[in-house]
């Protein structure tokens, strides 16, 4: 890639793309209270996809920050979190739907509000999935970048506001991935105002993975998932 690619998703915006292995994807929030929901699939065989339980279990974590990786259901690494100035990204909050969006923020429509109407996470994700010949049955748990949701010991879940203005998180693709993004609110954000933070997605070539890599060395589980990923690509490469 000669020059980086960049797109800004306004509140309610959506975007999806197939992004090759070895790219750096930097997500930067313009304001506070940002929430960017993301689903990840293998670009060419999307039945392999981001698996929330496998990723959390392997890393003994209920949130993501630098050093963590997003694993597929095949024990491989789809993408790594290489840098993070936010601190906590939520794997448990899910995405909004139309009923929830209307009841929380008030009913809006394109007829009345034109492009300022409130989009829901479910509709955004379904449209972008459908573009790639996937359907609602392919919906699963997204990663909600920029959001913090904590669980008390009794299991009760609470959204914690984070400063996100100007902050960013960088992912490195370890496989050829299909990434689907929706800039829609975290369902657990109690604010009655539809969040208004744009998020910029910048894609560039990533630096090579070196032996002292933060994500590879985060834990033995991550190293084995990387080994599974490297083996899978080695099996597909030609002799030269």
């Amino acid at each position: 890639m000669t020059s980086p690619f960049s797109i800004t998703l306004q509140p309610g915006g959506k975007w999806s793309a197939r992004i090759g292995k070895g790219k750096s994807i930097t997500l930067t929030a313009a304001g506070d209270g940002a929430n960017l929901s993301a689903l990840l699939y293998d670009a060419f065989h999307p039945s392999e996809r981001y698996n929330m339980p496998d990723s959390l279990k392997a890393q003994h974590t209920a949130f993501y920050t630098a050093g963590h990786v997003l694993m597929s259901d095949q024990g491989r690494v789809l993408a790594s979190v290489t840098e993070d100035t936010v601190g906590w990204h939520d794997p448990l909050g899910g995405y909004t739907n139309r009923v929830g969006t209307d009841s929380k923020y008030g009913s809006t429509s394109y007829q009345q509000e034109r492009n300022a109407w409130h989009r829901s996470g479910e509709e955004n994700l379904v449209v972008e999935l459908y573009r790639h010949n996937l359907t609602p049955r392919d919906l699963s748990t997204p990663v909600n970048f920029f959001s913090k949701v904590i669980c008390e010991l009794d299991g009760s879940m609470r959204y914690i506001p984070q400063e996100t203005a100007g902050r960013s998180v960088a992912l490195r693709t370890e496989m050829d991935v299909l990434m689907v993004f929706s800039n829609t609110p975290n369902p657990l954000n109690p604010s009655k105002d539809y969040p208004e933070s744009a998020v910029t997605i910048c894609v560039a070539d990533a630096a090579p993975v070196l032996e002292d890599d933060l994500c590879v060395n985060h834990c033995g589980e991550n190293r084995r998932a990387f080994e599974n990923t490297w083996n899978a690509y080695a099996l597909m490469r030609g002799a030269n």
Binding site: N51, P53, H60, L92, R137, T141, L153, M157, R224
Partner: protein, 222 residues
């Protein structure tokens, strides 16, 4: 802890219309009618019963772990929890529970995730996702895409406020059960976990039992 509130069922095993033992490592798939009640029993204790649910009317609509937990603002399932599908469709309600807590985010073990969690040489070992796939492959309406994060009945996977995920000793015991009432036509898929790498069942997978009662006060048809 305040969430541990066992609720005993008034139903008796003698009145059940269906009674089946699921040996450790085996799968079970079954359709429930609305109003039918399914009891899953942890026969010997500390077994994890990995379970998925689908709308029988629209099998592409799978149980959603996060839609279920965000709706109730709580990570764990117990009496009163309504299990919902990805579309938001209400599938079942937990109407009795003598265990008190069930895991929603631990998912199912797989050959591939075992290589990550334990070691590469665990790849050939029996695992839940293989069982799920074998059961789904027997019904033409399902494909691998229909595998979603599942419930682990009787399993305890606490999350700390600091965001750590830990595997704690079970809160279950011999004979404890969870009872679910179907709110819609629901297909239930169980893999009775055969996991031999995880100390949660003392490396001793044991049987589960399922009982079904018909719709109260009526026949088997709705």
């Amino acid at each position: 802890m305040s969430t541990f509130q066992p609720v005993v069922s008034e139903k008796t095993a003698a009145e059940a219309v269906y009674d089946r033992i699921i040996p450790a490592g085996e799968g079970w798939i079954h359709d429930l009618l609305p109003g039918q009640v399914l009891r899953i029993i942890d026969v010997e204790g500390n077994q994890a019963v990995d379970t998925l649910f689908y709308s029988t009317e629209d099998p592409s609509d799978h149980y959603s772990a996060v839609r279920t937990i965000t709706r109730q603002h709580n990570l764990y399932l117990t009496t009163g929890s309504v299990l919902v599908a990805e579309s938001g469709r209400e599938l079942l309600k937990i109407t009795a529970d003598t265990c008190g807590r069930h895991d929603t985010i631990g998912g199912a073990c797989s050959a591939q995730s075992n290589t990550v969690r334990y070691s590469h040489d665990t790849l050939p070992m029996h695992n839940c996702r293989d069982t799920f796939m074998l059961m789904l492959s027997g019904r033409s309406e399902f494909t691998k895409r229909d595998l979603a994060p599942n419930v682990n009945f009787f399993m305890n996977v606490p999350v700390t406020p600091e965001g750590e995920l830990v595997f704690a000793d079970g809160v279950s015991g011999p004979g404890r059960y969870v009872e679910l009432t179907a709110l819609a036509p629901v297909t239930v898929l169980i893999s009775n976990c055969p996991q031999l790498n995880n100390p949660c069942n003392a490396y001793n997978p044991t049987p589960a039992q399922v009982l079904i009662w018909d719709v109260e006060g009526g026949g088997s048809h709705v």
